[in-house]
Symmetry: C2
Subunit: 336 residues, 2 copies
């Protein structure tokens, strides 16, 4: 794909009516991505709906292989099943599939990319590029400047993940349960494994046989692949909280060489895609509500552990933007 | 104080109209604590209100030294200022002050007690006994059986604390903000340092000069005192979440000798005051909503870290009950 000035591209979005798909449309507009033709696609169920792009309505067509003819970039923001079936059809037709599902992330022929961290991995692909999980992206983005400054020995992380990580069904379930609660009623959980309104649910996605959840294992495997650190020690618990948008991560990092909180703050603040919001004397710290609608990953509460050289970080990120759509569009920009 | 069968006691509650005070009344009823006379007390502002105890209304009087004449037990569930001023007045009159504030917890003449863990510390007191912080109680209760089984080397904890940890003002702020949000409005924070509805706020209480919060430091100092382990390595971040009642803690424990998840489950399940709720094959795990209204501390998600011998635990507890009122009443029971 050449970077000819002024060239316009054919862009398709599979899952254009979902939570990430809608944000993808906004991010393509905001970043003035050179879209010559937009093809919103979805499963049969959503065909005939329309979406808004640059002030015009565009009708959603069915996501089928022939919809990818002539497409330069196809963003997948739907189920893993659709990605598994259709991403190779994009590649076969000479386009590039940029996939948000977990399907291809650990495939050794598929780059798994956070552009600020490992854009170089894009040099070698076979028509499919994977976007990491929405918890992995902010974690590795915040870890990378620390690694460059002092090396990484181990990471302990507890996530507090918003309901939009489970898409529109997650957002709707929180809203319905809060409304029911205000009426003194309780609704049975559907999307999550326990009621999420007024609660914290220590399971994201589903359990594996080893007692971990699929979400937790992704954080380990994907961080190791992106950071090219196959032995990196990442310990994690992933929790769902009643927040609409914005994932938070409470992270304890052990570096190879001592790094002071000031040095860490400096390394983070000068890294692209990161905003440091950290001044206890002014009660300054980032929350998921601050991150919602923003593209940056915000870091605060940077401080030395009382009993060791380890550093605490508090990381927040809009899981639909940098955790998904924005990262996908940045991958496409890097490929231009 | 003798344990004569049938003896009834004069019990006073300072802060009887607050969130913890109200639960104290319920817990005294439920546990049939031998209350011969109840004296609900409060600051001037609440004088003249009445509370319900064993089906009768009792008028609230002002918390002043002379209200403690003849009192056997005085529960303090109000501000630290009141505790500092008035707890010695209880002791001076021969009663025992059981204080929920942080005022006396680190005083070397004051036992800091979770009865299942260190009831023996009650043998020596000067008329004041302190109840630990609502995050410390479930943590040390869950750590104690693990320590007895395999020793404790280090602990990493991220808390997800409910708004009732800040009393009725916290509960009311969440409710008001959720109502405003449903109307499309935003209310400025008052009790917390950032909006708490639909958010996660990585600051509980207030910042210290060292970049930690007062809540975080309590977790370290109090755990060390209760467990009589002055060098215990506890690393912590404390977060407020939009949950009405029930604190959660995501905990990674390093033991001195290897302990399997099954051994840990066994040790926890056989310890008083703990319920293990942990079976991934049946999607069984505890949430704060499960703990609300219960006296036990619930533990689940017990599993080995992928990269070490450390164990993950997920601990939840009703912060108003075992985290405050129930623990206080258990202290009084142990003193009978």
């Amino acid at each position: 794909m050449s970077a000819e000035s002024g060239r316009q591209y054919v862009v398709a979005i599979v899952g254009a009516t979902g939570a990430v798909g809608e944000v993808l449309l906004r991010v393509l507009e905001e970043r003035r991505f050179p879209v010559g033709e937009l093809r919103p696609l979805a499963s049969e169920r959503s065909v005939g709906k329309s979406i808004s792009f640059r002030g015009e309505r565009v009708v959603v067509a069915e996501a089928r292989p022939d919809a990818f003819e002539g497409a330069d970039f196809v963003f997948f923001a739907a189920t893993g099943t659709l990605s598994r079936e259709l991403a190779p059809e994009v590649a076969r037709r000479g386009g590039i599939a940029i996939d948000k599902s977990s399907t291809w992330r650990l495939d050794e022929n598929v780059p798994l990319v956070v552009p600020e961290v490992n854009a170089a991995a894009l040099a070698k692909h076979s028509g499919i590029v994977a976007v990491p999980n929405c918890t992995t992206i902010p974690l590795v983005l915040a870890l990378e400047p620390i690694r460059r400054a002092a090396g990484l020995r181990s990471v302990v992380v507890t996530t507090l993940q918003s309901v939009s990580g489970a898409g529109k069904p997650g957002l709707e379930e929180l809203e319905r349960q809060l409304e029911a609660s205000a009426r003194g009623e309780t609704l049975a959980p559907e999307t999550f494994l326990a009621p999420i309104a007024h609660n914290a649910v220590p399971v994201c996605e589903s359990f594996r046989d080893d007692g971990y959840t699929t979400e937790e294992r992704k954080l380990l495997d994907e961080s190791r692949k992106i950071l090219e650190a196959p032995e990196l020690d990442v310990a994690m618990t992933c929790v769902r909280v009643p927040v609409p948008v914005g994932h938070s991560e409470s992270v304890l990092v052990e570096t190879e060489r001592p790094l002071s909180p000031d040095e860490a703050r400096e390394a983070l603040a000068s890294f692209p895609g990161i905003s440091v919001r950290d001044d206890p004397s002014r009660n300054l710290f980032p929350t998921p509500a601050d991150a919602a609608g923003q593209d940056d990953v915000f870091v605060g509460r940077i401080r030395r552990d009382y009993g060791s050289q380890r550093l605490w970080l508090w990381i927040v990120c809009d899981n639909l933007r940098k955790g998904a759509a924005t990262n996908g569009v940045q991958v496409a920009e890097a490929l231009l």
